[in-house]
Symmetry: D3
Subunit: 64 residues, 6 copies
């Protein structure tokens, strides 16, 4: 612990993911007192047809 | 919030997913008082070899 | 499978939960072809200080 | 989306949580291009007896 | 990684949890080649009113 | 219930998964008193670029 799961759409580059996990790791260490060696982050990516807001699939939305 | 995660096997059509998220959204608004604009649903799909019941993988089961 | 996790704030009554899971179960059977006997739903409830939107905790928001 | 779940031990103060979600929100906006209005974060807190590393419960570990 | 989340009803003793995480840890090391030092297990416990099978809450079921 | 989610890297064979779910099922029945018929296990597999420890992506680590 801690374990952080990020649920987001697919499509970010490895460089974006690299910067994202570094920043979240730093936030967890600074604000939650986490030990970085035991802090793991997992990114779950979803295609637009596997996500909905207000009951409308991502593939059917004009505003995401 | 709310956030609803659906774990199921892969293979539903977009039309099935479209109807499913609409119905779940309606259920959350009616019965849990959710604000649809902040209600998100994510569908995680699994291949049969990544799921088990009673300790037997989906690819090895005759009855799912 | 399927397994449905609902993440929401604490505070709904048992009667609300009863109606909610019945409606979600019906939606999963009708639209996703689920076998109700193997369909499980879990509700995770969070206090307002354990949830944020736009980086602002629920206890600090005026609009939820 | 995105939806971020943080699994950690119980015991952080509201002030720590306040700073933590603000920093994670900023990281998601900057590095993943998230729309903050649709970005939700949930914190799941566990007592030490509900977590293990290397097969040893938190209540039995000397080094966390 | 790996990270294992166990969703179950509340009520197991610490001794049951102790034996459970030891056995799951051993299974992950033996069968999935996991490094125990980086293998974390979290137990999420639910009251009976926060879980349903076949659309019926745990508090309303006679057979669990 | 119970529902067990295993988060791990992709790449295990079906034979490894077969043995893994059998062992975890046995552990849950023996130590947590689970009813195997209602015990489901799901495996979520991640590519190395979707996981980090200590803020460093799996694709950038030399030691996993």
């Amino acid at each position: 612990m801690p374990f952080v799961e990020i649920h987001m759409w697919q499509g970010r580059s490895n460089e974006q993911k690299r910067n994202l996990v570094a920043a979240i790791n730093a936030a967890m260490v600074e604000h939650a007192g986490a030990n970085a060696e035991n802090l793991q982050i997992a990114i779950q990516e979803y295609p637009l047809e596997n996500w909905a807001r207000a009951g409308i699939l991502g593939i059917d939305r004009t505003e995401k």
